[in-house]
């Protein structure tokens, strides 16, 4: 445990995971999840796992948040339309 | 022969990928025929392997056979129980595909092969899980089986209940799987191995059990028991099984849930049963307590349902309780009993679901009250339904009856009462449904409750409501019931099952006078309960003391997750005493 980088990365992971749960709006949560994904990738790099870091970067900080954003857009769209009709 | 073990997984997966690749140009009939043929071929392979499984086979995938006891690859285990589950899963897949033959609602445009492909993927996942000898490999195929099951459950995307049930199913099972993976991580940290036998040796080598062993045990079993729908992990099951398409229900209730219990059996036997694992008395306490709870909750909830598929789903929960008690008692006789019971139950339950599917497609409802007396013309289905219910009650010589009898003898004591009660209540509920729906007996009940789920206004799964029931839809349940009967009645079959499961460690399972009498008792009790419910609906109708229990089944994902956490804690607390006293 002499590596301060690992400690910092772990703290960042814990903090961003907590934030991802605490942020209740799914659109913002997607952004926080992207941050969590990036922080995890950093942690994996300092833990000497470049392979996992790469896929975490591609999946955790790009693909999953993107899917969530698209879902949010779909879920919100009909509501917006109804409001416009009023 | 052992080289063919991985092929058991590869064939259905290859069938599925080819169906999707060619799906655009295939007609529906060709796609479904291909699905049936591939599933049947796999079933044949599974049975052929099963017949050669003594002594048990092991195969190191990719030819990584260990030199000097140091393996790096994945080991597959082809023993009686594993291959037996794979064969049962494959046979049920064939039955489900035959049942859905040209019956299902229009497939998604230009995706004629998607439903049979999903079924084949499901089959591949189940076979892979059944023969896995490596803990992480078991997790991977467990996840495959789960993901396909979520998609299949939500297959009817125009049904509000279907998508909701599928989501609860998905969230709970995924969370359980992550708990299991956490447990695998803990075990890997302690032992540095992934093959189940190696992990077991590693635990023993390390010394007595400690908090880490307990946590790993509780977490791995959480994942498996979520799948096995043990109380309090069971909430997803009625929600999912009540809404899934009928052929999928046949697989979910008939084999997938049982695979969770099988996983518990396998993991305890190979990983935790040594001196460094969880002492047998602790496992017994944990599984018997959860099993009794599961049996009671399942039976009570089953009795009060009016949504027929939900009723059958709760009956599966109740029977899972009995299986868990059997596994928890850790004797070779009990293992034989559970195996026979699972075989018989799979046939009976799948047949009952198949018959209920006919009701849904014919009348657009699966509500016991709304269908009162409407299905009088379906003579054949009525007979099948009653036979299925009697088989569920454990009437000799059905396989369920033999399994129950052997299990009662092995477990013994006051638990026998529970076995009789659970089979009587669940079968009584099914008989009550049959009497009301097919024979119009009793008065038509009113609609007093506003809380519960009714089965009114469900969309049929066929394109139009059926005016005539296709032959496949009655032939499949008939064959399944014959299978359930054969398990108990064909001489020598039970002996073969006993040899495959416990390898001759126990006297071969057979009918005894006590067993026959207990089976007849539960059948008579079931008939009496059903008759009482029809003649005196009030005292056996909804009562206030069950209301809190029924309110727990709220359909709310947050509730279910909260109960999952309680369940893991409960499991650890039940298994803790032996470890703390060390």
């Amino acid at each position: 445990m002499d590596d301060p980088l690992i400690v910092v990365a772990l703290l960042l992971v814990a903090a961003s995971a907590t934030a991802a749960v605490a942020v209740r709006d799914p659109a913002r949560q997607a952004l926080v999840l992207a941050v969590l994904g990036t922080v995890l990738a950093v942690l994996f790099t300092v833990l000497q796992a470049p392979d996992v870091a790469l896929s975490q970067l591609a999946v955790g900080s790009a693909l999953t948040p993107l899917l969530i954003m698209l879902s949010v857009r779909k879920v919100r769209r009909p509501q917006r339309k109804k409001e416009a009709e009023r | 022969m052992h080289h063919l073990l991985p092929v058991l997984v590869a064939v259905p997966l290859l069938g599925a990928t080819l169906l999707v690749a060619a799906g655009r140009h295939l007609s529906r009939a060709v796609a479904e025929t291909t699905g049936c043929v591939v599933a049947a071929g796999t079933a044949g392979l599974a049975i052929a392997l099963l017949l050669n499984s003594s002594p048990p086979m092991t195969d190191w995938v990719g030819g990584w056979t260990p030199r000097g006891g140091e393996g790096v690859g994945i080991v597959l285990v082809g023993d009686g129980p594993g291959l037996g589950m794979a064969a049962l899963a494959s046979l049920l897949t064939v039955a489900a595909l035959a049942y859905s033959w040209r019956y299902f609602d229009a497939p998604p445009r230009r995706h004629a092969g998607s439903f049979p492909a999903l079924m084949l993927l499901f089959q591949g996942g189940m076979c892979g899980f059944a023969i896995a000898g490596d803990l992480f490999d078991a997790f991977v195929f467990f996840e495959l089986m789960s993901v396909v099951a979520y998609a299949l459950t939500g297959h009817r995307v125009e049904e509000p209940k279907a998508v909701q049930g599928a989501l609860s199913f998905g969230v709970l099972n995924s969370l359980g799987a992550y708990a299991m993976l956490t447990g695998i991580g803990l075990l890997y940290a302690r032992t540095g191995e992934l093959a189940m036998t190696k992990i077991g040796q590693g635990l023993d080598h390390h010394g007595g059990p400690d908090a880490l062993t307990l946590a790993a045990f509780a977490l791995v079993l959480t994942g498996l028991l979520v799948k096995a729908a043990a109380v309090p992990f069971h909430f997803w099951l009625p929600d999912a099984h009540a809404v899934a398409p009928t052929p999928v229900c046949m697989l979910l209730s008939g084999i997938m849930v049982e695979l969770g219990a099988y996983g518990v059996w396998r993991v305890y036997r190979t990983v935790f049963s040594g001196p460094g694992g969880i002492p047998a008395s602790d496992l017994e306490r944990a599984l018997v307590v959860l099993g009794v709870l599961t049996g009671l909750v399942g039976a009570v909830m089953c009795w009060y349902q009016r949504h027929i598929k939900r009723l059958l789903a709760y009956s599966t929960v109740a029977h899972m309780g009995l299986f868990l008690i059997g596994i928890g008692s850790l004797g070779p006789e009990a293992d034989d009993g559970v195996a026979l019971y699972i075989l018989g139950h799979a046939g009976a339950k799948a047949a009952l679901f198949a018959c209920t599917g006919v009701l849904l497609d014919r009348y657009g409802s699966v509500d016991e009250h709304a269908l009162h007396g409407r299905a009088r013309e379906l003579r054949a289905v009525a007979i099948l339904y009653v036979i299925g219910a009697l088989s569920l009650a454990g009437l000799p010589p059905f396989g369920t009856g033999l399994g129950k009898a052997v299990l009662e003898e092995a477990v013994g004591g006051p638990l026998t009462v529970l076995f009789v009660a659970v089979s009587a209540v669940t079968a009584g509920a099914v008989l009550r449904v049959a009497a009301r729906v097919f024979f119009g007996l009793g008065s038509r009940p009113g609609d007093e409750s506003s809380y519960e789920t009714t089965g009114i206004g469900e969309e049929p799964e066929t394109r139009h409501r059926l005016s005539r029931v296709p032959d496949t839809m009655t032939a499949v349940p008939a064959v399944l019931l014959v299978g359930a009967l054969a398990v108990g009645a064909v001489p020598g079959f039970a002996t073969a099952v006993g040899r495959a499961v416990s390898g001759g460690a126990a006297p071969s399972p057979h009918w005894t006078l006590t067993g026959v009498l207990l089976g007849l008792t539960s059948t008579l009790l079931a008939l009496a309960l059903a008759a009482l419910a029809l003649t005196h609906p009030k005292p056996l109708g909804e009562s206030s003391w069950t209301a809190p229990l029924r309110r727990l089944q709220s359909g709310h994902i947050g509730d279910y997750v909260a109960w999952l956490l309680v369940g893991t804690t409960l499991l650890a607390a039940l298994a803790a005493p032996g470890i703390l006293s060390d």
Partner: protein
């Protein structure tokens, strides 16, 4: 301090569960499930770490010259990452259908399956 990484993994798992229990939006709940899953990666890779070791890639490292971290857990975590993303996709697809058919994604307002 030698257990700190494990404690972080446990914390992430529990926080995700808390989010699932209290979530008022199913999309958010699926996100919380992804948080739960990320705890498994942290645990696995923490288990495989070795002091002073490097990544197990020998394209520019002479075999045997330095200790390497455990490659097995990395392969497991890699599998896990892909599994997580696909499960998320299927669950989100179900949430979309729920929002279409029920007109809401608030679990408190879903009342079709009860009793």
């Amino acid at each position: 301090m030698s257990v700190f990484p494990y404690l972080v993994a446990a914390w992430v798992f529990l926080v995700g569960c808390y989010g699932l229990v209290t979530s008022r939006n199913l999309i958010h709940a699926v996100g919380c499930l992804a948080v739960c899953q990320s705890s498994t990666y942290v645990l696995l890779l923490a288990v495989g770490y070795r002091d002073g070791a490097t990544a197990p890639v020998f394209s520019d490292l002479k075999p045997g010259s330095r200790p390497v971290v455990d490659p097995v857990v990395q392969a497991l975590a890699l599998t896990d990452v892909v599994v997580g993303a696909t499960v998320t996709a299927v669950l989100l697809a179900l949430v979309l259908q729920i929002s279409k058919l029920h007109g809401t994604v608030d679990p408190d307002e879903l009342s079709e399956l009860r009793g």
